[in-house]
Symmetry: C2
Subunit: 151 residues, 2 copies
C-alpha cells in the first residue's frame, strides 16, 4: 500500500527520534533498521531536503530530526517521499465527472483522505510513547564492530 521506500523512511525517523538528538550516520541507521545502506542514503537525503531531517557532514556528522518528535507526523514522512495520490479527477477525464467525481473515484478519494487524516494525526512521539508497552519497537542490537568500507 505504502511503498517500501516509505516504510524505510518511517523506520529511520523512528529510530532517530528514539536515539536522542545526536547525529547518526547513514551506516548506523541502516544497520539498526535493517535497510540497504546505499538506498537508505537516498531516502535520508530526500527527508532532509523535505525538512524532516537535518543533515550534517564531516566527522561526528549524520542525520538528526529537524523538529522535536511531537511535531513530526507520519504524514510529514510519507509526503516527503512521493506518497499519496490526489484523486481530483476521474482518470477517464470525462467532463461530467468534474468537479464532482463519479461514485467510484469518490470512494477512492475518500479512502485516501481517511488515510491522510490518520497519518496526520499520529506523531512520531506518540509512536514512541506507545512502544514502551508492550515491548518497544526495539531495533536489533548492533553488536558487531564494523570494518570501515562499504558492504
Amino acid at each position: 500500500m505504502l511503498s517500501r521506500t516509505t516504510e524505510y523512511a518511517l523506520r529511520a525517523v523512528l529510530y532517530l527520534a528514539k536515539s536522542g538528538g545526536r547525529p547518526h550516520t547513514t551506516q548506523a541507521i541502516a544497520e539498526a533498521v535493517q535497510v540497504p545502506e546505499g538506498y537508505l542514503a537516498k531516502v535520508l537525503s530526500t527527508l532532509a531536503r523535505a525538512g524532516v531531517l537535518n543533515a550534517q557532514r564531516g566527522p561526528s556528522g549524520g542525520f538528526t530530526l529537524a523538529r522535536p518528535p511531537e511535531r513530526v507526523t507520519m504524514l510529514d514522512v510519507v509526503d516527503a517521499l512521493d506518497a499519496l495520490p490526489e484523486i481530483k479527477e476521474c482518470p477517464l477525464r470525462l467532463p461530467e465527472h468534474t468537479p464532482v467525481l463519479c461514485p467510484l473515484h469518490r470512494r477512492l478519494d475518500e479512502m485516501v483522505t481517511t488515510m491522510r487524516r490518520t497519518l496526520a494525526a499520529t506523531t512520531v512521539a506518540e509512536l514512541l510513547a506507545e512502544s514502551v508497552e508492550p515491548r518497544a519497537c526495539e531495533f536489533p542490537p548492533v553488536a558487531k564492530p564494523t570494518v570501515r568500507g562499504r558492504g
Copy 2:
C-alpha cells in the same frame, strides 16, 4: 495507492454491470473504459479465475458478471488481483512484535483494515445507483453543465 491494474479492473466490472447481462468482448470493454486491450485481457482472465466474472468463448461470447451487481463488492475485485497487503508481522520480524505489532505497523495495519471495510461495504450496484445523478446534497463550485452523461 491501489495499482493501475486494480483501477482497470474496477472500471471493467462497472461497465459490465451497467451494460446488462449479455457478454461483452475484451475489445468492446477496452474501448469503452479506455484501457489497453492486450493488458485488459489478462486482467479480465484473472477476474474470471477469481470467480468475479464468467468467461464465454466463441461467437457472441465474452465476459459477464458472475453474480448480480448487488453481490459484487469493490473488495471482491481488489482481492481478485493481488491487492491489499496483510500486515500481520513487523517487517523486521522481531519476536517481540508478534503477535502484537509495534505501534508503527499497528497503525498501518489499521489503515489497511479500514480500507478493506470500505471496499467490502460498497457493492457495484451501489456505485451504479449513485452514478445516475450527482447527489442532491452536493453543490459543485462551478455552474452546472447543461448536458449530463453517465458515470
